[in-house]
């Protein structure tokens, strides 16, 4: 049933971390793809490319899983999973779409509590893509952790029928006298 399994929040970093592993150390590091036979005094290491783990995140764990293949006009189920111990007891979650993705009004604010025994708990929601293209379901997760308000955000990518139009530029795209590509933004003057 699982057509697209993506962990988010801590796993945002997992995926980056995977790249980090491949980068900080050479790219076929175990855990990052096919393993290779041991080499003895092999060639020099490939060019060293290093990637940071990503910015610090609030200590809130939250996962999602898209259940099935997104289809135009068809409700799409997404399973949201709250943290287990020692995470917060409850998560306040707000979901919003972009107008081309039908998000039921009741999803504007939902609350997920930790399951009995401190285990993770889940909730399945549905949204409906109204037009083809790539949609982004915005998720804001807030919780109280050790007496302090914390928040994390995630965006769930829902692609229906292939990629949509590329994002529009912020300003006017041109080239300067050196041939460098530039994006011109307006200034206020006095």
């Amino acid at each position: 049933m699982t057509a697209d399994r993506i962990r988010t929040l801590p796993s945002l970093l997992c995926a980056v971390g995977a790249v980090s592993l491949a980068a900080c150390q050479p790219p076929d590091l175990p855990g990052n793809g096919a393993k290779t036979a041991t080499q003895l005094d092999g060639p020099a290491a490939p060019e060293r490319v290093w990637e940071s783990p990503g910015k610090p995140q609030a200590p809130i764990d939250f996962d999602y899983e898209i259940l099935g293949t997104p289809m135009l006009g068809q409700p799409l189920a997404i399973r949201l999973t709250s943290s287990a111990q020692p995470g917060p007891d409850t998560l306040d979650i707000a979901l919003s779409g972009d107008g081309r993705l039908l998000v039921p009004a009741e999803l504007a604010r939902i609350r997920m509590a930790r399951a009995a025994g401190g285990e993770r708990s889940s909730r399945t929601i549905t949204v409906t893509p109204l037009v083809a293209g790539t949609h982004y379901l915005r998720v804001l997760v807030r919780a109280d952790v050790r007496g302090r308000a914390q928040a994390r955000t995630a965006t769930i990518r829902i692609a229906v029928g292939g990629a949509g139009a590329p994002p529009p530029p912020l300003g006017t795209v041109a080239t300067d006298a050196t041939g460098q590509r530039i994006i011109s933004l307006p200034a206020q003057e006095n």
Binding site: L12, R138, L185
Partner: protein, 688 residues
């Protein structure tokens, strides 16, 4: 250089504009010297209004047009025009009895006023006059100066935690060290002058007079020489196009002039971004300015490697279709630093989701990684991390450094990150003391607090586990010195041990104070790069953690080590957590081929293992030893699960061997190969 005809080339400064208005009023009132026509006209006739076109400036030798076509008669028509020169070097007027007269501006050595009077007569014989002054200037240059500012939106915090963008307290901040160009508007390309703003955001250029130009502020800090830098903000979703802020076209005129540019946030004042977010690239560079200033103060001749900061409103907190960052589409997942030709700092920019241009700590954290990679060495393996995690020592130091540096560069010890709808949510933590859970050499929070306490001058007092007064105040210079020297060349993987050992050695008077700060975070006094004195085995303590670097002897007894997932926590898997990777240290005698073998001695019931190894000496040595298990490797035959490799090693040299159960480096919910848990290996090193 574009030179327009004078008639279209007038300059109306405030004072000149005022004079023009006075003249117009006089002409309209008919008392400008020729107003008798109004007084003597028949009662039925109303006087005409003369308009000589107002005052303006003109370039020597240019053709100047005096324009009286704005003159009018309220109850008839103008039937004659008459121009005459009242003062200034004599010029020959052509068309002196027409609405438009012209002359050739004389040669002058400095600004010279020529005053002309226009008399108009209406169809009833009534007349009126108007005067215009033409200031003729020499062909040459003018000084163009001004300042560049941008909307700086501060981050607010709630008393109970959380953070938000405080649009209500937006300030116009100077854009410092920003690359500025004066562009010839005739082609929109030719750069007539270039330079940079100063520390107040001010610029000043000498530019050709009477030229149509516009001012361009490039989202770039560029300086050749020593110190030198090239930082620029580009749009990763548009071919890494450089952001520029362009002013409107104007004429430089004949006298010095001032023009200020301001880049607005685009915030509509209440709920959303309704205009171009012009301020964003400049806000990002503003933090870079602060970060670079820290380095320059410590190293005045520093040459920064070029750095692109990638930002776009399309940069979202979601990965691309392949589960990895896709800068082309803006699906970044998070903000991060990546080295290499197409690398740089990648920053989220999607409004109402997560955007970083005003999250100065986020930018500084990633800039700290740039600094670490380019000026020092980072062996961090990355991976997920958050408060309270007990991490592999390399990750703990790298992230602790990033956090501490963010507070230093932002001059604010409270790390803040805003996000969500209207940027009204977020989180914050205090670098000076947010959490003491799971303290130790493996905790990035412990490390960032120690580093920041060493840096700052605040005399903090700690009461647990024993009273400690922070009397260390080294500033940034000593930290930078270690980062760029000893930390770069340390033999074992980069960690707090090598960093602090060097810092203490270089700053002996502060050594005891540093050790006291370490004690606050359950870190033993550090005496060497290997953490030889460390007795913190994690929380709860693990028998597998210590010593941090376990000794092994070539051709000596084998050593048993265990890779564990017990510190994987609830949320982030074991990929980079304490204990999943074990370290053995050894010293060679004679150089030559050495064979290293790891053989499984125990594993959880029903599992088979896959031991893998890396050799380190001032960084990981290529290639790793990570072959697939043989068919004989089964749960019933653990001893068949082994890894062997042979490598030529230097004589009398220190090495570190990293060994781990492969699955214990995977995420805890890896669908194919989740961590199997504690797996132990017998390791031996032989030399024929």
């Amino acid at each position: 250089m574009l030179r327009l005809t004078v008639g279209m080339n007038f300059l109306r400064t405030g004072s000149l504009l005022g004079a023009m208005l006075v003249v117009a009023a006089c002409g309209g009132g008919g008392d400008g010297g020729g107003g008798s026509g109004a007084a003597s006209a028949p009662a039925a006739n109303r006087a005409p209004t003369a308009n000589a076109g107002g005052d303006f400036a003109a370039l020597e030798f240019s053709t100047v047009v005096l324009d009286g076509t704005a003159s009018s008669d309220p109850d008839g028509s103008i039937v004659s025009f008459s121009w005459r020169q009242l003062s200034g070097p004599d010029v020959g007027l052509t068309g002196g009895t027409t609405a438009r007269a012209a002359f050739t501006a004389p040669s002058v050595s400095g600004p010279t006023d020529l005053v002309f009077e226009l008399t108009v007569t209406d169809d009833d014989g009534a007349a009126a006059t108007s005067v215009a002054t033409v200031t003729v200037v020499a062909d040459g240059l003018v000084q163009l100066s001004g300042a560049v500012t941008f909307d700086l939106v501060p981050v607010g915090t709630f008393g109970f935690g959380g953070a938000f963008l405080d649009y209500g307290n937006t300030q116009a901040a100077p854009a410092r060290a920003l690359a500025i160009e004066i562009i010839d508007a005739s082609d929109g390309l030719t750069v007539l002058a270039s330079g940079a703003t100063d520390s107040n955001g001010a610029y000043s250029f000498t530019v050709p007079n009477f030229t149509n130009v516009f001012i361009r502020a490039r989202a770039q800090m560029l300086r050749a020489g020593s110190p030198g830098w090239n930082f620029q903000v580009v749009d990763n979703t548009n071919g890494d196009a450089l952001y520029v802020i362009d002013g409107a076209e104007f004429d430089t005129g004949g006298t010095d002039l001032s023009r200020d540019l301001h880049a607005a946030s685009g915030w509509d004042g209440s709920t959303s971004y309704s205009g171009p977010r012009s301020a964003a690239p400049l806000a990002i560079l503003d933090l870079v300015y602060e970060a670079a200033a820290l380095i320059v103060a410590a190293d005045p001749s520093v040459a920064f490697p070029p750095l692109a900061l990638h930002w776009s409103p399309s940069n979202r907190p979601v990965f691309g279709a392949n589960g990895l960052p896709n800068p082309d589409t803006g699906e970044l997942g998070t903000s991060f630093y990546r080295s290499g030709a197409n690398g740089g700092i990648f920053l989220l920019g999607a409004a109402d989701e997560d955007t970083e241009e005003y999250d100065r700590h986020v930018i500084a954290h990633e800039w700290g990684h740039y600094l670490e990679f380019e000026f020092s060495r980072s062996d961090s393996i990355g991976g997920p991390h958050t408060q309270g995690d007990q991490l592999d020592l390399r990750v703990a130091f790298g992230e602790g450094w990033g956090n501490a540096f963010s507070a230093m560069a932002a001059a604010d010890s409270v790390y803040k990150d805003t996000l969500g709808p209207q940027q009204s949510s977020g989180f914050e933590f205090d670098i000076e003391g947010e959490s003491r859970s799971n303290s130790g050499w493996f905790n990035e929070f412990s490390i960032h607090e120690v580093l920041y306490d060493i840096f700052d001058a605040a005399p903090d007092t700690y009461f647990t586990p024993a009273p400690v007064m922070d009397n260390v105040d080294l500033g940034f210079g000593p930290l930078y010195a270690v980062l760029t020297n000893e930390q770069r060349t340390t033999i074992p993987p980069t960690s707090v041990f090598a960093f602090i050992a060097a810092l203490k050695a270089n700053n002996l008077p502060a050594a005891d104070g540093i050790d006291a700060l370490l004690g606050v975070h359950a870190i033993e006094p550090i005496v060497d790069d290997f953490g030889s004195t460390e007795d913190n085995a994690g929380n709860p303590p693990s028998a597998d953690v210590l010593p941090v670097f376990k000794p092994i002897t070539i051709n000596g007894a084998s050593v048993n080590v265990c890779s564990t997932d017990e510190f994987s926590g609830n949320q982030t898997g074991s990929v980079n957590k304490l204990g999943s990777r074990q370290y053995l240290r050894f010293q060679t005698g004679a150089g030559g081929a050495h064979t290293i073998t790891a053989t499984t001695t125990s594993a959880p019931a029903g599992t088979s293992t896959d031991p893998d190894m890396w050799l380190h000496r001032a960084g990981p040595l290529w290639p790793p030893a990570n072959s697939d298990p043989t068919p004989e490797c089964t749960p019933a035959m653990p001893s068949a699960c082994s890894e062997t490799f042979t490598r030529t090693l230097d004589a009398n040299a220190d090495y570190v061997l990293e060994i781990y159960e492969w699955t214990n480096t995977n995420a805890s919910d890896d669908p194919d190969d989740p961590p199997i848990g504690r797996a132990c290996f017998e390791v031996e090193i032989t030399q024929p």
